[in-house]
Symmetry: C2
Subunit: 561 residues, 2 copies
């Protein structure tokens, strides 16, 4: 009788849905998966029409999602393989969006469950893309720049409104009742494993290195979280919170505990199997894509995360504009380097779903892509900035917006669609250049996520703009796969992430090589993008923009003739 | 028996159609009208997909249009008034777009009728919005700046690609066969009256002061057209053309001749009735709107022309950036001052017809206007430049393009629509300010044209942005009415334009007063528009744009809260 396969379950909490994925730890075979859409708000996000910066989530959606998606996955696994038994599942890993902190009471219950806070969005989870704390982010940046520049050096030089303390400080300022009622604040990626293992008391929750290091300025070099007197200068109450947060963090190859009896029953899985310490989706997505020094991973979804790793024994300068350099945030023994774009697929979706161009027939992603593919680089005369949701790297500034330039009376929807794709490609190139300038080697780019999978035009434009070959991760669910890998390592099924990756990850055969002629045109366009980028995005820039429209028209005329 | 009414016929040649209008010269009553759409090309314009700057027209469309529209108008007049007889028509006036020159042979036949040029767009009429001569425009500007700055001083400091000599010189450069075959070049507004009076030999055609002065640098101060040696320096053949053009020009209160026997028969009108010397649509539109010193007329259509007049005995400085200051171009005894925006309605039409936003139901002008009217100034966070077709005033630069800034992932089509309207309003304000800075008094703004008539939102935004009351001309066809007035004066029915205006023009009761609160918001937005305008539109500007997006977001947040 052949040895029975062992499986791990990856739970991937995205912006609108949660996915469960069951993976064979010997070879990465994905035997079943299921997705659950969060029922609250609009596509799972609670919004405020009077405050477009606000984006919250209901943490109970996460738990209902775990139960529903896991049970459906297990049922599908049984249908796919009659011999499958849930007893073969040996570990669970969890990734989530972030920074998505939620205020909890002393037992770890989310405050939003309390009657007095039921309709209060401040008691919900503060979704990564909530930008209400932009003023607080600036305040934190200013104070750190003056008193603790080392805090900023590891997170690109600017503390973002998307991050942990900006959100908590904003809550303190606008809704002190919620702040005062919170025994602690917990990142979503820490809270879900805590629920699954049945230990949600804030002081006992195992906190992930990834969220803490990238979003809460946690670093062993200064003894963990920022100093109490630093936080107290922002607000005495914030200083008082420090002791109610955490002092230690773990990498995701560590178990957060065994699956509780209650949750074993709810999920239909064996009690006591290890649940790995949680991490952010992109970081575990990079693991599932095969990240390693020299292999730059782009997880392209509604937004984009770029992740690479670098041996933590090698010298590495602080890199301005990155979202973080954190030892162990991706893999033990390596610095995890995170960058990203605040919107990529979201920009294309905005154009298709909000602007709804092209009349009844021609406005779908498929139609626009088909027509955009026929346009030569530069031939539309258009140039766009990819800032409809701000800029996460290298400017770290949410108070930026989109820009489209070069429209004539002939401009067509597919030309704008292509310009938006190109804008995100120029944004990606800006990030890659920043890594390279600071000595991080990039031998290949591995892409993953829905857009990388489904839109060859986007991948070809990325190759043509960057001049780099674009490869695609084999798995369509690299985040969930990365979580399953974390579960597998936490359960002892593999000794470390690299061994698990060797067994469980791969690349697709199809890759996208840069077209030399197109690349040359984009080498002319990129300086114009960069000029707009610097003009609108940096306080230092002064100069002239008089040539921009003229250069675009000259290039257009050349490409059309 | 009551005295029989006398009528004049105005022929208004627009970009896509020609309109005939029959007007009672005693009171301006419009008894019948008809429109004819040019059959050639796309909406009457011959385009080249490989050269988006190219826009030509078939002059035979003009003649077919005259016949069809006039006959239909007369038939309608008979139906409206049983006693009407064509014998009551005492004069004809003609206005056209411009500069729209066409190459003709020695008998005045358009070259495009020749077999060898049948498929050659260079032998057609070069429509006002043809920008193929942008390089030649720059060349003419540079030479005039060096050797004859006085030429430029009367046309805003820059010679435009939309104008007479840019087009002819471009033809000479790219298609010398057409240039060599041309005995002369004739403005459309001169050629049509010439055809109607049966004298098309170039040397005998009465040329209008309006086209010559505004577009061909004709000025009595330097003996008419630019000096032969000036033109010869651009190209010896252009110098050689000067003598085959014209030495004299007339104002439009003068008769170009009597209606020929042939055309009297074709139109169904009395032979010999005076046909006034032609002028541009906007100039006669201003006459039909009641232009007079202090009364600033905006003719708002696909593009916008702004016209005002100033006594030619009063001192008036050269005004940089204007399209022209020409004695008699609008009314005898007054300088005619022309400015304008290269696209206004065309920008709104582009958004609705090319971009087709809002899905099947929400993308019409009516729906977008309804929704845009509910948006507060500044509340979208958007700011646009109105340069999709270049900038006619005050930059005089066709090598400029549109810009939209401030998009988020929430931006809606109606917000963009409103931003485009606001952009044209900011453009209008920029022109008004320029006039005022140089001492031209503006007591009131009289608007006319389809958009002024039909879109109260546009008019209200113009009032709110400029802080000036917007009035609307009584006639819906002020250009055709102005032509009819020219016909009436040329026929001796009124002694001069001012007397004819007093009898034949008026205003609508409904006007648009600025809302003080909205005006204050626009006073904050305009400096941001102006900053973008100067940054992308002037060679001199250097500075920082870092605050633009942030200021827009701050204003948005204030207006939404």
């Amino acid at each position: 009788m052949p040895k029975k396969s062992k499986y791990c379950l990856g739970l991937d909490y995205g912006t609108n849905t949660v996915r469960a994925l069951l993976v064979d730890i010997a070879n990465g075979r994905e035997i079943a998966t299921a997705v659950f859409a969060y029922p609250s708000g609009r596509d799972g996000i609670i919004l405020d029409p009077k405050n477009l910066d606000l984006a919250r989530q209901n943490p109970d959606d996460y738990l209902l999602g775990a139960e529903t998606a896991v049970r459906k996955t297990l049922a599908r696994a049984r249908r796919a393989d009659k011999t499958f038994s849930p007893s073969q599942v040996v570990g669970i890993g969890v990734d989530t969006t972030g920074s998505t902190p939620l205020p909890v009471d002393a037992s770890g219950e989310p405050l939003c469950r309390r009657k007095e806070f039921r309709r209060n969005p401040n008691a919900l989870a503060w979704l990564w893309k909530d930008h209400t704390g932009f003023a607080e982010a600036a305040e934190i940046t200013a104070l750190a720049a003056a008193e603790h520049p080392e805090y900023l050096a590891k997170c690109g030089g600017t503390y973002s409104s998307e991050w942990f303390f900006s959100k908590i400080l904003h809550c303190l300022r606008v809704d002190p009742k919620v702040f005062d009622a919170a025994a602690s604040w917990v990142e979503c990626c820490d809270w879900i494993p805590a629920v699954l293992v049945g230990e949600t008391r804030p002081g006992r929750i195992k906190r992930g290195r990834c969220a803490a290091g990238h979003k809460a300025m946690f670093n062993a070099a200064w003894g963990g979280l920022p100093a109490e007197n630093f936080l107290a200068k922002l607000d005495p109450k914030l200083g008082g919170l420090r002791d109610r947060l955490f002092n230690e963090t773990c990498t995701s190859d560590v178990s957060a505990g065994g699956l509780s009896e209650e949750w074993a029953a709810r999920l239909g899985l064996p009690e006591g199997i290890p649940v790995a310490v949680g991490a952010f989706d992109a970081h575990l997505g990079a693991v599932g894509s095969g990240v390693f020094p020299g292999k730059f991973v782009k997880i392209i979804g509604t937004s984009t995360c770029d992740i690479c790793v670098w041996p933590n024994q090698s010298p590495l300068a602080d890199i301005p504009g990155l979202c973080g350099i954190v030892d162990g945030s991706v893999m033990s023994g390596f610095f995890g380097l995170e960058a990203g774009q605040s919107a990529v697929g979201d920009i294309f979706n905005w154009f298709v779903n909000e602007i709804q161009p092209g009349g009844p027939k021609n406005g779908s992603h498929a139609e626009l892509t088909k027509k955009a593919a026929r346009i030569k680089p530069g031939a539309s005369g258009l140039l766009a900035l990819d800032w409809n949701n701000g800029n996460r790297t290298i400017l770290i500034d949410q108070r930026l917006t989109g820009l489209l330039l070069g429209q004539t009376l002939h401009t067509k929807p597919e030309e704008i669609y292509r310009a938006l794709i190109e804008a995100t490609a120029f944004g990606a190139l800006t990030i890659i250049k920043r890594f390279q300038e600071y000595g991080v080697r990039i031998d290949e780019v591995i892409n993953c996520g829905g857009i990388a999978e489904k839109n060859p035009l986007v991948m070809q434009i990325y190759a043509d703009v960057t001049g780099l070959e674009m490869k695609i991760a084999r798995s369509a669910q690299t985040c969930a796969l990365g979580s399953a890998i974390a579960g597998a390592v936490a359960a002892g099924g593999h000794p470390d992430f690299a061994s698990a990756q060797a067994a469980m990850c791969g690349l697709k055969a199809k890759t996208f090589k840069p077209d030399a002629a197109n690349h040359r045109v984009y080498e002319e366009l990129y300086p114009l993008y960069r000029k707009l980028h610097d003009a609108f995005g940096t306080a230092e820039w002064t100069g002239s923009l008089f040539s921009v429209m003229k250069d675009l028209l000259a290039l257009r005329d050349r490409q059309l003739s």
